[in-house]
């Protein structure tokens, strides 16, 4: 069984976001790039499945749609334990474009299970996994918190107030939520060394239309200063909530 993990290359979560070119483009100077946290958990679970001798997973491959900048992120995925990495050489314009590119790759290369993080921590589109399932006519299961490949393939998903277990067949797309793995793995020295020898294949992008265009980004307004009210003057708090914040 082969697993493909979709990897999004995103700015570190502590990045101070700035834009350029009339606020139409992210200013990526000085940004430290990381594996999208949901994708990193998906990769961790994929590796756990491979390491579990009780099932037949024999390959974990990571794939990303992006420029050469993303190769450091892919190499980290290899250092963590992925067997090989694919970079589709294209600027990831939007979710439709990314899903379309991965689908083109999947049409030529068969994988049994595809992991996609439920969203990426940069643009938070939450769409690639579902679109990919649709393009491929695979079942797509969202909010997945566990994948079990024992005798039957059983996928758990988080639902309000509990969880739902779904039996499914391969191939399918698991759109994973936090909980799919306990915590992401830290690459070991041996893993970092072995990553040098693992394949990182760059393939040309397919000719696909880009359907959307960013007109403008806006940053949220800076937070106002916090006012501290003495607990003995509750009336002052009510007054401020009523007349200044106008929420009462």
């Amino acid at each position: 069984m082969k697993i493909l993990v979709c990897i999004s290359n995103v700015p570190d979560t502590t990045t101070k976001v700035k834009f350029k070119e009339d606020n139409t483009l992210l200013d990526d100077s000085g940004i430290q790039w990381i594996i999208n946290p949901w994708d990193e958990l998906a990769l961790t679970r994929a590796l756990e499945l491979k390491e579990d001798a009780g099932n037949s997973v024999n390959e974990v491959c990571v794939i990303n749609v992006g420029g050469s900048l993303t190769e450091a992120t892919l190499r980290k995925a290899l250092a963590i334990g992925a067997d090989k990495a694919i970079r589709i050489d294209a600027c990831p314009s939007d979710a439709y474009h990314v899903a379309g590119q991965i689908a083109e790759y999947l049409k030529e290369n068969v994988y049994d299970l595809i992991f996609s993080g439920i969203e990426s921590s940069d643009y938070n589109g939450s769409s690639v996994g579902a679109m990919l399932a649709e393009f491929m006519n695979y079942s797509g299961i969202s909010s997945v918190t566990n994948v079990n490949l024992d005798d039957d393939i059983v996928v758990s998903r988080a639902i309000p107030g509990g969880k739902q277990m779904i039996k499914t067949e391969t191939p399918f797309v698991a759109i994973v939520q936090k909980g799919i793995a306990k915590e992401p793995r830290i690459p070991s020295m041996r893993g970092i060394m072995m990553a040098r020898k693992k394949p990182l294949e760059v393939i040309p992008a397919a000719e696909l239309p880009v359907l959307t265009q960013t007109v403008k980004f806006e940053l949220p307004q800076a937070k106002g200063t916090c006012k501290m009210i003495d607990p003995e003057h509750v009336e002052q708090l009510v007054e401020l909530l009523k007349n200044e914040a106008k929420v009462l």
């Binding site: 450091a72 190499r75 830290i186 690459p187 020295m189 041996r190 970092i192 060394m193």
Partner: protein, 379 residues
Amino acid sequence: MNFEFTEEHLMIRDAARDFAQRELLPGVIERDDKAIYPTEQVKKLAELGFLGMLVGSKYDGGGMDTISYVLAMEEISKVDSSVAVIMSVNNSLVCWGVEKYGTEEQKEKYLKPMARGEKIGAFLLSEPEAGSDATSQRTTAIDMGDHYLVNGTKNWITNGKSASTYIVFAQTHKELKHRGINALIVEADTEGISVGPHENKMGMRASDTHSVMFNNVKVPKENRLGEEGFGFKLAMKSLEGGRIGIASQALGIASGAYELALKYAQERKAFGKEIINHQVIAFKLADMAVEIEAARYFCLKAAWLKDQGKPYGHASAMAKLYAAETAMKVTTEAVQIHGGYGYVKEYHVERLMREAKLTQIYEGTSEIQKIVISRGLMD
């Protein structure tokens, strides 16, 4: 000249940073306070390969360069220097000597388990009356034909209790002075070895520092490292590399304290504005940043020389001196910036200040570094 790190360097730095934040930060104050040895943390450090990162892959190590080691040591020392010193001693004082001068049998038997982190090593040079003056070894290793008979006491031994493998320096031919010193690989559970109580230290309290006593300890002849009388030279050569580790530790202590002080100065308000907007605090932080950056260059330069196979003893002494002095200055200022909060344990900087003090003392005091540096000027 190239100031760029490789992708691999950055990956190692990030791995060390993630490990420090995730595994070392929780509980670091309690481990220090109660002098609890970081057993679980060291086990995880071994699993990730940090304990043998400098050892070649042929002997089960990480096969990383010294630049990577500096980066990893800095990140780990930002959070927990007790763990960093365990890593430093194992890598640069113990594994290095066995890899460089050991026989294939010694490497197979002793180096591989230490490189995998399954066993920990210790470097037994200091004695009650032989600290800076390491030539005056009182511990003896009498040549008994097929073995050495070792007697004496070693002091201030990092990993003294947790180590399974000791490198012991002892005098075999007193008349030859330091040229009569041998370095022996000794298994810690050999009959006649006893370990003294845990030293109640000012800082790095979680690392296990002990005296180790030898009473008629038989050490097989094949456990000698290098030629007869090579011990002192081995000790000095090991310390040249060890100093890069301790300099990087001092760098990490300084940069850890600086990062905490910078964050605090941006949050804490006094006289109506964040204290970083008071010039007196801003200038302190500027001075700290400059000295840390300089210390970092010293460490990386020494590491680069070592990786290039060039002489690095002079550079590593400069790095150790400058980084240790910087750590002391920067941590003291970090406590000052924190005010009263800096004096209590929850804010970490007082611990970093206590840790900084040791970097001026061990693996060659600042004064000894000046001797090494000044002698180098005359070469």
